[in-house]
Chain length 161, copies 2
């Protein structure tokens, strides 16, 4: 049962889809993250937190984590760090005092807008380089993956741009 013919075929790492996907994600992320890292010294969790608040306005830490697929400790640390920069402020919810609503300050919003612009430009440049077909394939492939794993319980949570 174990020794089929297929056992003999060697595994070619650079053709193995999980490996390819990981490498592609890392390469692209690295390129993009260098922008916010070099210009603002932001980490990825910080960038994601900023992006989520910029997109939705005030949010709780839990909501940020859910939306941006980050573990709550990452969110907690990112929030702390953005608070130090005076890019966001906390507001305790008086109805449920466990919760705090997080909101960008004017400075935070300004940084967000700049970074959102960089993100757009980055993506536009990527699409231009991939070409029409490459872009369509990539998007469709990602959509297929999302459909697939979206059906399974979103058990885990982690990070990364």
């Amino acid at each position: 049962m174990t020794n089929k013919v297929v056992d003999r075929i060697p595994l070619i790492l650079e053709e193995f889809t999980p490996y390819r996907l990981n490498k592609a994600a890392e390469t692209i992320s690295r390129r993009f993250s260098s922008q916010y890292r070099e210009q603002y010294g932001l980490t990825r969790p910080e960038w994601r937190t900023l992006a989520t608040l910029g997109q939705f306005g005030a949010q709780t830490a839990t909501a940020i984590g859910l939306h941006s697929s980050m573990h709550k400790t990452k969110v907690s640390r990112a929030v702390f760090s953005l608070e130090q920069r005076r890019w966001l402020k906390r507001r305790r919810d008086e109805a449920d005092r466990r919760t705090e609503h997080l909101e960008l300050t004017a400075a935070g919003l300004k940084a967000y807008e700049h970074l959102a612009k960089l993100a757009y430009d980055f993506e536009a440049d990527l699409f231009a380089r991939l070409g029409e077909h490459g872009t369509r394939d990539l998007k469709a492939g990602l959509t297929a993956l999302e459909t697939y794993y979206g059906q399974y319980a979103a058990v885990t949570s982690t990070d990364d741009d």
Copy 2:
């Protein structure tokens, strides 16, 4: 020059390609890595090292890193760990004594063959779930990405399968 109309469009994180790509890669990797983690307690760098040696036979640490996109310290640690398990042995190159050739032992080869089989099955299952179109799109999208960034100097090196 900075305030175009496009500046007003909010960035939608879950539609942003680098984010989607990262999340997809993480989700898939997590599923796959749970197999070698649970069954053998292997880390990702260890799995990649094993896979590279299984694919090519004896290799130097540097070659493994190049092939599997891992930083040399990761390779060094993975090699040490696999050596502890007696899954590989080192052989000093007498012509160039800085280098060592790494080779799987019988036990290492056996583990490799089992894991390669798991990898195949995992990929086959993924493709089945993605469907014919989803699979083709994903592969084509990855190929497009690889073509794109393959042209740029492979400056960095890291990990993660």
